[in-house]
Subunit: 906 residues, 2 copies
Amino acid sequence: MSLTSQRSKVNSSKINEATSSWVYSFGNGKADGSAEMRNLLGGKGANLAEMCNLGLPVPPGFTVSTDVCTYYYSHDRVFPNDLSDQIDAQLILIEDSVGARFGDFNNPLLVSVRSGSRASMPGMMDTVLNLGLNDKTVEGLANKSGDSRFAYDSYRRFIQMFGDVVMGVDHYLFEESLESLKLGRGITLDTELSAEDLQHLVESYKNIIIAELDKPFPQDPKQQLWDAIAAVFGSWMNQRAITYRRLHEIPAGWGTAVNIQAMVFGNMGNDCATGVAFTRDPSTGENVFYGEYLCNAQGEDVVAGIRTPQHLTLAGREANGSKLPSMEEVMPDVFRQLADVRSMLEIHYKDMQDIEFTVQKGKLYMLQTRTGKRTAAAAVRIAVDMVDEGLIDQVDAINRVDPVQIEQLLHPRLDPNAIRNVLTRALPASPGAASGKIVFSADIAEDMSQKGEDVILVRIETSPEDIHGMHAARAILTTRGGMTSHAAVVARGMGRPCVAGAGEILINYSDEVMSIGGRNFSAGDLITIDGGKGEVIEGSVPTIEPEVSGGFARLMEWADKVRKMKVRANAETPADVMVAKEFGAEGIGLCRTEHMFFDPERIVAVRQMIMADDEAGRRDALHELLPFQRNDFQEIFRVMSGLPVTIRLLDPPLHEFLPHSDEEINEVAKASGKDPKKMRDVAARLHESNPMLGHRGCRLGISYPEIYEMQAKAIFEAAITVSSESGKSVIPEIMIPLAATKTELDILKNKIDSVAELVFASLGKKISYTVGTMIELPRAALRADELAEIADFFSFGTNDLTQTTFGISRDDAASFLPDYQHYGILEVDPFVTIDVEGVGELIKMAVERGRSSCSDIKLGICGEHGGDPASVHFCHRLGLDYVSCSPYRVPIARLAAAQASTVKDE
Amino acid sequence: MSLTSQRSKVNSSKINEATSSWVYSFGNGKADGSAEMRNLLGGKGANLAEMCNLGLPVPPGFTVSTDVCTYYYSHDRVFPNDLSDQIDAQLILIEDSVGARFGDFNNPLLVSVRSGSRASMPGMMDTVLNLGLNDKTVEGLANKSGDSRFAYDSYRRFIQMFGDVVMGVDHYLFEESLESLKLGRGITLDTELSAEDLQHLVESYKNIIIAELDKPFPQDPKQQLWDAIAAVFGSWMNQRAITYRRLHEIPAGWGTAVNIQAMVFGNMGNDCATGVAFTRDPSTGENVFYGEYLCNAQGEDVVAGIRTPQHLTLAGREANGSKLPSMEEVMPDVFRQLADVRSMLEIHYKDMQDIEFTVQKGKLYMLQTRTGKRTAAAAVRIAVDMVDEGLIDQVDAINRVDPVQIEQLLHPRLDPNAIRNVLTRALPASPGAASGKIVFSADIAEDMSQKGEDVILVRIETSPEDIHGMHAARAILTTRGGMTSHAAVVARGMGRPCVAGAGEILINYSDEVMSIGGRNFSAGDLITIDGGKGEVIEGSVPTIEPEVSGGFARLMEWADKVRKMKVRANAETPADVMVAKEFGAEGIGLCRTEHMFFDPERIVAVRQMIMADDEAGRRDALHELLPFQRNDFQEIFRVMSGLPVTIRLLDPPLHEFLPHSDEEINEVAKASGKDPKKMRDVAARLHESNPMLGHRGCRLGISYPEIYEMQAKAIFEAAITVSSESGKSVIPEIMIPLAATKTELDILKNKIDSVAELVFASLGKKISYTVGTMIELPRAALRADELAEIADFFSFGTNDLTQTTFGISRDDAASFLPDYQHYGILEVDPFVTIDVEGVGELIKMAVERGRSSCSDIKLGICGEHGGDPASVHFCHRLGLDYVSCSPYRVPIARLAAAQASTVKDE
């Protein structure tokens, strides 16, 4: 299936065979390619060429271009006719350069074969080293190097690598054979094997291949080379690679290049070495040379951990109190050369580089350079430093930091060096980490936290009535629900770490026990939640507190200068609103009024309202709620002092405010002096099969206009009070949720306007206000032109719009979304990043239609996507006025919005 | 709010005041207008003019056109300047014609003032009679008629009517005064009041008006006339009229006309009479003259039931065994004249007419003619007869019958003459009527029905596990859910009457009691369900069995000749499939496979499959289900013998197949030898907050491919078996539900194709088949171009598409849809008629995009809307290939599709 569709894409790319040069040479200070030719040569090949052009010492070689891969797949896996001649010519260039001949029994040239595509791509065949060895050339290598152990070790490594990745023989067969040899010889380390042992091993390996494949290990170096090239191309279409491409939207048509390069050896004596380095410290970003090396070793030894790698620099050695000498001390000349390379690469690439090198008999060879991965803190520091150093400008700096990464900077995280006993992994629903005692109810969480205990609230799922417990807890763990489940959304809003949808955990509330994989954990047991990784960890794990550097503040300042969109926050408690403002929110984009209904002081009146037999009864109860709501809004208006505040009128179905189980109902009824039977009847009557699609949003405002009237009254009275006391104008933006038709808005806006008139008359003061709507149903998007005739603003509720457009309940999606991502059906979780093709088209349509009837309508987004960088880019492209997200994501959105506005040609 | 928007529409209609003629005369055998001028003159005015043009005797008068109304509302309720002169001129024409003067003390002209808009519209001011009477002219009338009682009775009636509808005085005040007079005089009938009594009453009435309005009853006839005209126009904008227009999509800009006509009196002696008649029998359609009259009476007496109306014809009198003489006997000359009018009108209008007439002193006057309302049976008979009579052609006949009405012909209905004690009214979810004993569970329904009892299944809501009980019951009543709830959809499919969403009823399953408005009904109590009216009735009510005439078959034949779209049925049981075929279904558009999973023989295996720990366990259980499914499909293929059958793969979430309450779980677990705890755990794990948006549809096929593999296998094996035994080709259409992305289809189609290959290889025979998808999510509609690259057909699942586009759960909508219809937010229930503006746009988009990538893709609709005439018209306009609906709606869809294809200029 996928092959067919991918094939057709491959077919579509046209290649003119006659005029093609299929291979690109590099080495000896010059190259056919350059860093700009990444698409043709892949990342590795382009950078090897670039380093040659810079005059850096690179072992000679050549790159078989991605065009060959494309040709290969559009011609039933046949190579271009003239490729063979071109490769032969390239081999001669290498032979001439290094003074050895491919396949020569006495002086054999060995090469490495490495894949290298345009984008870094795990899952593909990576590397074959030492290619060119056979039963004859191994002798030549032994003689020439004077080290027969080295030669046979290279040969057995080659057979194993080639056998595994090129010929497809299970690597455990080779490992088994090696182990059994070591067992027979009574030794434990590979390095203890003698040249003879290795010679025997080579024979065993060759026998394994014959036994498995019924054909011998190829002795012809040319055959080895062609097989290796075909294997690299073949791995482009293996399942892991296909899945990876699908997940990362990499077209199959890009293809991979193959790099063939003369081998250099860091293990031919003490004047040899191999190492890896970063041009700056990738953890802190400090402008120091940072790396490790090993004398007389091969690259894989540094990685394998057989020997302890040594520091590159004296400063690094001293800082870490290491006794092993640094390269700076051992090989000062070569080190100076390497330090020069470091400077040259940074000046050239204008970014921190991750490099690999080998020293063969005192001569330095560069094997790779690429942009180095770094921590969030390092990314910020490097970007800011490089501006100060004049290497890059502010816009470059803004684009050097991944917005998602900076979330790390704002939350505590687990000490990376601490041991973690991970019990289960689930959705990383809200970042940060915390340890505490397990509690299974919101009330207990609150009690224990008031006694100074750190608690982790563990629930199957959470609902608005758990809010106080979520506030009290250090972190939240749920066994059901996705990235935008109630728990996830609220936890992000509060800045609490949260792992959601941990389906492997079974909770038994009555026994206060949860079990994971057969183990039981009781209330009071310690666990740790890593919300950034989605891990649930046994016991307590030390955490590192966040530290925000001055550089971060400067970077954000630069970002604020260039971005076009405003950034607001979704928040309703004064504490959250405060956090949001500190993080730079320029307004509240979504103040959810229902969270205010759950406060213990108020819930009694709320329930009284729900249980009332008629409108008069409801009005009595609402009258009691009015002062609370008014006070809520006053506090928010005061904190935001003049910044816009969008208040959403009551949204959830009323049954969410009632107790659920029979026991709870009895308890609540008793406590509030109500008839439990009646409460049960009301709860039964209000029960809904699909509450997400039920009697909620503005449907409540239509059925029970008195609720919205009370809320509007509270808003206007609060706004007038605060604007009178502060002298600043307060302009509330009243938002009507879940509209599907113009008439709903028509009716409710009139209602709000009438309340405004009454309040203005009774208080003797008028204020400005706007009335808008959420666009969170496909129908609202389709009829946006009509809605815009009434609404002063649209705020896209992308959570619900995603739920309805896809027909996926975010609370239930955890059961199949993993399958959907596994099979590549959904490349990204649509609740995390806006599905541009589906949901995005509706948003685009709504923007166009809304503007067609009201050209200056204010447009924003207040779904969880407001804090997702890819979604922020999408909003920028649509020209929205603002994005609104949870307070802790405000900096992310600010940076992402800045980056979006620096993108050209879109 | 609505006034503003309606005002703006009014504004948009441009009227050129200078050249307008505002009034149109009729009478004396000629008229300015005609029947074609309905838009300008309203229905009543146009037909009065037409009758004049036909030379029929119509009292002279004139029509104030709808343009005046439009002018009035676009000029702040001011009349055109020249209207007054034009009306004066018209009055003179009437005066000359009847020989009386408006306002003349001795010989006063009296007129009637009646509204008349383009479409018949209740809620508007209807009629003021006897206008022109005042304290002086009443004396003139008394003298001229020689009947002072008649004169004063006319005057007091006039004051009451005018006071009520024109001046806005509560009519009960007048009635109170009348009653108190009768009480004082010790009489009970109005007719016993003397002329003096009535004269007193006139004084009381005038005093009431002064007391209420602080101004006198207007004595100036001109003033009366202008007030009445203004009142007619005013009533165009009253709330009831506005709501009615919104509900029936009548633009406010149409306006109303006003008809002013000389009064004629049927109550001036025994040579006077008044009556109403239909040109054919409106109940049966028989071609006989059918009507009632009263001698010496006024129109309202016929209606008021004070005297028993007499038959028009001798035949009618004899057929009803009436002793009272017919008009044919009493006034043979006038009757003959009337019979001639009847013929003339039928030939002229080519349709059955509903007429009103008055005989004044031996002279016949026609007061109204309009198209007569009729029963479904009459509509069919009249249409077919008129074709035979050469009055109309077949296409006319097709358009003469309302498709919705013919549903009456296919179901039993309650005897219209029986007394109904209606307990509550709710949604008319499935037509037909039945009486039976209340039962509260499907199992008991089945038991009792096997013992020969008629039962009514009463449930809060139904689910697939109630199917056997629904089959067993005579009718179904639910307290929750809308027109497309499970109960409604299934009941319609089975042809069972159903009332759904009866929220006033509270059910207590454990006590087996339901209560309505404080009254309790227990299991075993008799109730009656009228599914066509949505009524729940106490006790048993006699029903009338349906009878389908030969005329109906001929009409349907004509319909089949002209329609463009095919009509299929949604059915899965062999019985339903048979019914569908008999009703003319040309294929199965939706065969739901899940209904087959609930059979007691199978549900054990289904639950075993759900409870299995791994794929192997699921495959074992599915292996047991395979023969059942295969047999199901064989039976359907046999019945449909070669007609297409679209089979939808499993759609509902798996938890629907598990028992729900703890007791049920224990019971089921015990019976099937399973661990109840494990079953509870599985049920808890599968529980969903919003099952409608959950792990269902093709998401099941992705997570558990073995389920769809088994179903595909059963389909292919069944198709090969039946095509081998019948020699006819069987082409199954396999439908994948709930797709949102191309990749889902890609993966599942491949799976189905692989199964096909395996079955074909093992049975040694190949058949053709197609694989398509439902379009039931907004995202699927938006990405239809991609889906059409894989799918052979699209079937629009408009139920789910409506749920997701509107964000409304059909199961929960009953709580607010009534409010929404009341406020005119939804003009029609979107689950009944496709919401063309929202859902319809998505369908249109999907049709266009689907065809853009696959021009010959087969397109159909299989939601409940497939049986709704308005929706069928919409599907026709989009050029769909077929509609599919429940079996009993197939004839409706056939007729509606035929009507759609006769519509021009769309």
